[in-house]
């Protein structure tokens, strides 16, 4: 089926509109049926338009009457709590979508700043080249990382208290952290890292303490 983006507005073309109405009405009734069957719940639908002589009622008039009487039995509060019309429904949808979007934007910024941070640390770029508007976000990411590091240090220090042999670093040939400096050429650190890696045959021993490799 070809998927063309449909503009969410009243269809001006009469025949288009009629055709769309017929298809979508069928689709809605099918979905309503699936919902009712899969979840075993009462569902009632009424659809009316200039294209129908009588309003379409699903599942049937009797069933609809049942649904409506069930509805009537409920106290007003319960009945109207989740009652929506176009306006309220759309407003709700907008606010939900906005929320999700905001969260994603924040997460994306953090991911981006993490890359910037790594690039600085490995010498690919320098802090002076960070977008000025991003400095704040970058700072936040650094703070977060430091908090996590401190937490891990605390945990490991506690475990360490028992035996020092658990810190099996002797065989480790991990590289010293590059120091990011203002004014110094970034290649200095890259070179340092690279040379050490080549020479010491980098075997990144990450220790046997915790192999739960969660992505930060």
């Amino acid at each position: 089926m070809t998927r063309q983006k449909v503009k969410m507005a009243f269809i001006e073309n009469e025949s288009s509109r009629k055709a769309t109405y017929k298809k979508r009405k069928r689709g809605i009734l099918k979905k309503a049926n699936e919902l009712a069957t899969l979840c075993g719940v009462p569902v009632g639908v009424i659809i009316d338009s200039p294209y129908d002589l009588t309003p379409e009622v699903w599942p049937s008039r009797e069933d609809m009457d049942n649904v409506l009487s069930q509805l009537q039995r409920l106290p007003v509060m319960d009945r109207t709590k989740k009652m929506l019309n176009q306006e309220s429904y759309l407003k709700q949808s907008i606010s939900k979508a906005s929320e999700t979007c905001k969260k994603l934007t924040k997460e994306n910024k953090e991911l981006e700043m993490k890359e910037v941070m790594f690039d600085c640390l490995s010498g690919k770029t320098s802090p002076s080249r960070i977008e000025k508007n991003d400095l704040g976000a970058c700072g936040n990411v650094i703070e977060q990382y430091l908090r996590n590091l401190n937490r891990r240090i605390e945990i490991l220090s506690k475990n360490d208290g028992a035996s020092s042999s658990s810190v099996h670093v002797v065989a480790s040939t991990s590289v010293a952290m590059p120091i990011v400096e203002l004014g110094s050429s970034s290649t200095a650190f890259c070179d340092m890292i690279r040379q050490q890696q080549i020479q010491s045959n980098m075997n990144q021993n990450v220790g046997s303490l915790d192999l739960n490799q969660q992505q930060w």
């Binding site: 507005a9 979508r24 009652m83 907008i94 002076s128 990144q204």
Partner: protein
């Protein structure tokens, strides 16, 4: 063909067995049904009401123009009175305009959301692809041992200072405000509204300028790769020039766990105190 999500597989049209799945399915499908109903109204100007009871016997309903009007008409209560027509038409026109606006807004937000989602995927994919990076500190920190953690922490503290300096420079130039850190007691350069940096930042700045001059001639000294496989601590001492070591330690000692970073107890600690 890889089955990306279970939803695109055929399912039996019988009541679902798993309670949790049933609840989730109900939520999703009800939401989808309402969406379809809303679209039908917008596109074709139909009137509709959808009433759904949840497994927990709560009721959800959607109706256009509203639930009660359509139900009443169905039950043959309150048929349209001719003399009300003008008012009705005006109201309808108003409502339609409002709804159209909302629809446009929703479309816009949805598009934005899709863009962010795509960007999110791209960023995560990029990190996955970069995973074979040679930099051990880019791996998840859960795999670090204590030495690595403290080492990385020192490096990050350094980096943080550099970034703070950049920020304060920018601030002084433009008068913008930055708020770093999530808590009010973060020492990461909190600036007041007048655009003045706090004294801590000035100290960093000042120290930075001093260090810049100190370091500029020492590049060659720093790059001393050591092939030694002696214990971690010794390696570090031999890698850096003494002057550099000293300054490095000054940044590390800002933290409580200063001892972890202290690798050169013999060096005169005259820079240390300012940052403790």
């Amino acid at each position: 063909m890889v089955i990306k999500n279970k939803g695109r597989q055929k399912i039996e049209m019988v009541k679902m067995k798993n309670e949790n799945n049933l609840q989730v399915t109900f939520s999703k499908r009800r939401s989808g049904l309402f969406k379809k109903a809303s679209e039908l109204c917008t596109l074709c100007g139909a009137e509709i009401v959808v009433i759904v009871f949840s497994p927990g016997r709560k009721v959800f309903s959607f109706g256009h123009p509203n639930v009660d009007v359509v139900i009443d008409r169905f039950l043959k209560i309150n048929p349209h009175h001719p003399h009300q027509n003008n008012n009705l038409q005006l109201n309808e026109a108003c409502l339609n305009a409002v709804v159209q606006d909302l629809n446009n807004h929703l479309t816009q937000v949805t598009e934005q959301l899709e863009e962010e989602k795509k960007r999110n995927e791209d960023l995560k994919q990029k990190r996955k692809d970069d995973k074979k990076s040679e930099n051990w500190w880019e791996d998840p920190i859960e795999g670090f041992n204590l030495r690595q953690l403290t080492e990385f922490k020192c490096g990050l503290e350094n980096f943080k200072k550099t970034v703070t300096t950049e920020a304060s420079k920018y601030l002084q130039a433009t008068g913008h405000n930055f708020y770093f850190g999530s808590s009010s007691n973060a020492t990461f350069g909190i600036f007041d509204n007048d655009g003045n940096t706090n004294s801590e930042s000035d100290l960093f700045n000042h120290r930075r300028l001093v260090d810049m001059n100190t370091f500029s001639g020492n590049h060659q000294n720093m790059i001393i790769p050591h092939p030694s496989t002696t214990p971690y601590g010794n390696n570090v001492i031999e890698r850096f020039a003494p002057e550099h070591n000293q300054n490095q330690s000054q940044y590390c000692f800002k933290q409580e766990r200063a001892s972890e970073c202290d690798r050169q107890p013999d060096h005169p600690p005259h820079y240390r105190h300012e940052y403790c």
